[in-house]
Amino acid sequence: MIQKVLIANRGEIALRVIRTCKRMGIETVAIYSQADKDSLHVAAADSAICVGEATNTDSYLNLANVLMAAEISGADAVHPGYGYFSERTLFAEALAGMGIKFIGPSVKAIEAMGDKAAAKAAAIAASCPVVPGSDGIVANEADAIRIAEEIGYPVLLKAVAGGGGKGIRRVDSSADLGRLWKLAQNEAQASFGNADMLVEKCVIAPRHVEVQVIGDEHGNLIHLFERECSIQNLRHQKIVEEAPYAGMSEALRKRMGEAAVRVASAVGYSNAGTVEFLVDSSENFYFLEMNTRLQVEHPVTEAITGLDLVELQIRVARGEKLPLTQEQVQFEGHAIEARITAQDPDQQFAPSTGLISRWNAPGGPGVRMDTHVYAGFKIMPFYDPMIAKLIVYGRDRAEAVQRLTVALDEFHVEGIKTNIPFLRRLVRDADYQAGDISTAFVPQFLGEA
């Protein structure tokens, strides 16, 4: 039984998890840093425990303090949200040792998917197409050049331990490879403490399409269709996501859904996870990686399937069987999420901090806002700049885009700079409205602006 859940996260996702727990009659415990004491996630929880000073390493990433918060709170389960400890096996293992349920996949599954080379091998074993590239870690620069010439330029140098768009370099010729190889390795060592690199073919202007999966602890595993996440910033971070991928053929949807289930099943996956793919203009798809946690953009899947993903996570974590079969999962309509960030679009998206003096959020039919901030809240420099998620739903993509446009126009924030003006321009772009997008969209759009 799960009766009391500690949410080992902050901000909008902590609040989102708390909301579902409350609906399910589960007691909630928030954790917070001294800088976050006024966040809505703290106010919404039944109780809250301060775990440290402002910086992430002192608080949300302070393993001993977060684990002890779980222990002294008497929580019988921990929801990790996304980021922070959500994909750290050490955290899940420590909780297991304390007799506290980790609401997520098994340590074995996190491990299998946490290493990009191992994940790719698992995908190949599950007959899932992968991007052509090195067969595992590349030993040295000479090998990297040999592989790159074999598969053809451009190629990507990718840190084995990378993630969130970090640790990736594009190389266009053997002449550049030497210099970029060292740079990428140094970056990987500094960011992830692991300099191991992969070489992969760079698929030109692909779409980023991911498939949501969820499994129970009895071997049942289903997918909840796809999300189209091609609108990414220059650092490969998603900005606008939608579900379904409107231009996708039914045949491709079926093939990708089945491939995602095969990959997840291959590592004995349970709980919620996302299998990410690149899709080229000829509907070839390639396994990219699997995220072994709830995703930021999960609300678009919720909107079109009518399911509460956090509820499903908790239900399978407490040993229940999945309440529905693959055939019973249906989707209807179209949903789009826009990530609202405290970043100044006129200053190369530099983080903006300070007091929010005005916060007029949009509303109305088909509009959902997930946020932990409000007028009077202070944005601090210590955390990710995402301050809200605006999710809209429409009967089809055109209606969803219209709703998003109206909602963004209605959204007024003062005191800090946000990316809202940029999003307003983006949703008015003719290619965006036509759904003619790829991961090359934002760089092109910014170039034209």
């Binding site: 402002a54 303090n65 002890m68 420590a94 901090t353």
Partner: protein, 139 residues
Amino acid sequence: MKELDLETIRHALRTARENGYEVVRIRSGAEAFRGTLDLTRPESATPELVFMPEEMDADPEETEGQAFEEIRAMAVGYFAPGSLFEVSASVNKGDVVGSIRALGISNDVTSSVSGKITEVLVGEGDPVQFGQALARVEV
């Protein structure tokens, strides 16, 4: 400066300037930063930066002419009082007054001030959170 990178400090300074604060103090683990902003100068001017050790505690609280400070928990866990942890005991800054047990490890709690303990706020085995007041000290 591993934790307190320049980016963090710059943001903090910008926030301070936007809100009209003169002094910025940031602390992360053993590292501390203190900056004094000259609010009369234009934003482009470089603020005067001083790196110096900082005490976590806020300014002493004044009550009827006496100054009190609190000894606070610097970890999450279970508190165990030391021999000095009692009303009327005199403590010096840096004295070990108890410990916080976390994950089987005992972490010393030291007094951040010198003075006389006037009130103890937690007892043996009490769970404590980060920053929680453990005792009041008349300084």
